[in-house]
Symmetry: C2
Subunit: 240 residues, 2 copies
Amino acid sequence: MAGGHTVAAFDAELAALHSAIDRMAALVESQFATALDALATADAAKAAVVVEGDAAIDRLEMEVEAMTIRMLALRQPMAKDLRDIVAALKIASNLERMGDFAGSVAKRAVTLAGLPVVPPAGSLTWMGRTVLEMIGDMRRAYAEQDAALAAAVRDRDGEVDAAYTSLFREFLTYMMETPAQITGCTHLLFAAKSIERIGDHATNVAENISYLVEGRLPAEERRKGDHSSFAVAPSSTPEG
Amino acid sequence: MAGGHTVAAFDAELAALHSAIDRMAALVESQFATALDALATADAAKAAVVVEGDAAIDRLEMEVEAMTIRMLALRQPMAKDLRDIVAALKIASNLERMGDFAGSVAKRAVTLAGLPVVPPAGSLTWMGRTVLEMIGDMRRAYAEQDAALAAAVRDRDGEVDAAYTSLFREFLTYMMETPAQITGCTHLLFAAKSIERIGDHATNVAENISYLVEGRLPAEERRKGDHSSFAVAPSSTPEG
């Protein structure tokens, strides 16, 4: 991009900013993978590692913020350089939220590990794997400034939302049939919601990548596929 | 603030930015108040108004973003002016999320309105009222650049988190005792979580106000009072 910033110093700062974002995203990816693993195996020790690891993501967000403010103040960037910096600020904020939600999933895993019986978490595993793939693609789209890949990430969010809605119905039914599992199911439902929200934030990041690369937001309105707010169990009384 | 921007044009742009943020916040406040009302009275028509109204908040966020990018590009602000603009960008993003969560509360109200029996939503009312007060104080703190009031908003978040945790336990118990109310209770639990998250975002905005006024983030780590991730019902089997 031809701007007023052909100086090598600015390019070095921009590279450092990109690298900080990628370090944040890599941490989010590994934190989330570990949280899913802890949830699937009801492993409290593994979950505790995720809860503690969140502070590193928060620190990186503050670092990114300090870098962007310094660059805005000293370099007075224009056009694509300015978009690049504003996008970094927004992406970092989304990554920080994703880290928080990975922590929420891990906290639910701790609680589930302490329950006498745990409901089957299989439906969450597929959802979690899809979101994990979205995060991997999101990282690649950012590193390669690939707007097409970013659009593909965004398109997958509908799958996740649909899976979450069907899982919500499934768990409501299961709770009515198995009241002893209500506590476990409720925590799994909230874990599923956190996973769905991580997918939403990955989609936001993908939209920021599109903006950064193409200078405008995707024209099409994002499909809102999470209809779980309206979900009721097939029969609303277990006694029928 | 003595900067390079004594020009009246910049001050006018800053005033327009502040006014756009306040319009966003006022919309969030009224959307949330209406959503709470719809929840308390299980009024689907009122809830539908909130769901439709969210687009106006999203449009205002894009407006704020366009204003900030233009100001960064053309005015090259420094020091407090720069903080003011960066804070606006972050506050707008939090307000947009708050609007989304008000919409989530409203969607749950629609579903509850369609159920044959609805569990008592009284505990949510107190929580909702506290968060509504936080939003009012947050608006005043922004308008008056009052860091002390911003700190007071932040301090109230602990009350909301504690109320949410106790409500989570209460609802688990209620579901076990009244399986016919599982669907209703689950939607109320998610509505409560959305209310709690609106409180979190009001707290984020309060922190951004502190940063904007004082040039640094509050030193003290924010207390994390939502322990509901670890909550189990007093007895985990209803037969027990």
